[in-house]
Symmetry: none
DNA sequence: GTGGTCTAGACCACC
DNA sequence: GTGGTCTAGACCACT
């Protein structure tokens, strides 16, 4: 679970950085339904955060239906994480791609490299 | 210039959202060297922000060498925006791609759609 | 910590006056690595400034790598403040000396007094 | 007269940077009583400033008694620039030296280099 | 309690 | 008219 990182110098607050990472891990299936998340205090210690900060992340993930917390039973990925309509999927994917291309163009004018970087990332993620 | 937007409900602070957007517009060449940026107060009004917030965005862009401001003379894109080494380019591109793929997998498991969305965004941007 | 002062009638803005003073205190070792800086609001109150003004000073010092701030955790001198190349050192020292001599000549034509004032200041600082 | 420079990226406003430089040139005798200063518009053009900015510098120098302006007669160094008491001289010199030492310590811990830089600057100035 | 950000409006420096 | 800085106070994120 040490895939998780928090960049202190990022203007985006830690609880939100964490939330996004969990959302990705769950949405991509790397974290499977029913799988256990690390205890709040342990994760907080590992990342150098206060427990309350991690607790807030879990609270927001639960509100979004991505995880479920049971008293004394730890925190687990929800059995059936909420889904989107096909239209919403397309819309979001298009926005993400546009944002990525915007960033990538800042860094290279090479369209081919921009595509290959995605292929590479896909290969790594779905390995 | 109304391509610029600020999402109030985003945890990332407005001055930083704006900064990133300008960085992309400049890096991708949509804003050309020497081209004028909107006056601080006008942009602030358009976006519903305080002038100081936009001023901070401009200040940070100038510190990064992307723009050049002259008191009383407006704000323009720098003549020679700073460049990166080839290694830095590759590193950044790889990070961006990884983040995009992470988001995309949240929304679809279809690798082909993930790539096509990038191709589409490229087509639009470089049109 | 009341070595710090802000001259209201100086054309140099307060945030910059403060920044320079801290830079000197840190660079000369009067403020040691790890040592705590006064809280933003306390310092602001002591100096008759708005909190945001002091906050800006701290922000710029952090950007320069001289200090390290942690949300909710106060502000401290960085562990390893950044260093300069030998060439940069010589260049800067030469500029500072030239500026000093320029000021001193305004006030006395006595070369010996100009040197002795420096010796005296050195004795005080490194005491 | 091209000894004069204005650093655009300095937080100290141009009119004040200029004022200090003239004060030094006059106080150190490099500009002699009665000697002519460059016309406002010419100097403004050379430095890339608006005429009003230079005019303000001259206005403040005249208010301080360092120069005198006569209609149609250009601007000249005052015949008897105002002087300071011996105590004021000592006090100011001490402050300047202290500021110099503060800056220098930021850049080198070598007391000897700090003194030699002053000797060098003196040699250049009084050459 | 500590730092970060934002607003609203004011004044200054500059072109 | 344009950018820069400051204030005063509010709310948020974090320890």
């Amino acid at each position: 679970m040490t895939v998780l990182t928090v960049a202190v110098d990022d203007a985006t607050p830690p609880y939100e950085q964490l939330r996004r990472q969990f959302a990705q891990l769950i949405g991509s299936g790397i974290l499977q339904p029913g799988e256990r998340l690390p205890p709040v205090r342990q994760l907080a210690g590992d990342l150098g955060l206060a427990a309350g900060t991690v607790a807030r992340t879990y609270r927001e993930l639960e509100a979004a239906g991505l995880i479920r917390t049971r008293r004394g039973g730890g925190t687990r990925v929800a059995d059936r994480p909420p889904t989107l309509t096909e239209d919403q999927r397309r819309q979001l994917l298009s926005e993400y791609a546009s944002a990525y291309v915007g960033q990538a163009l800042l860094v290279t004018a090479d369209n081919r490299a921009i595509l290959e970087a995605v292929q590479h990332a896909l290969a790594v993620r779905t390995a």
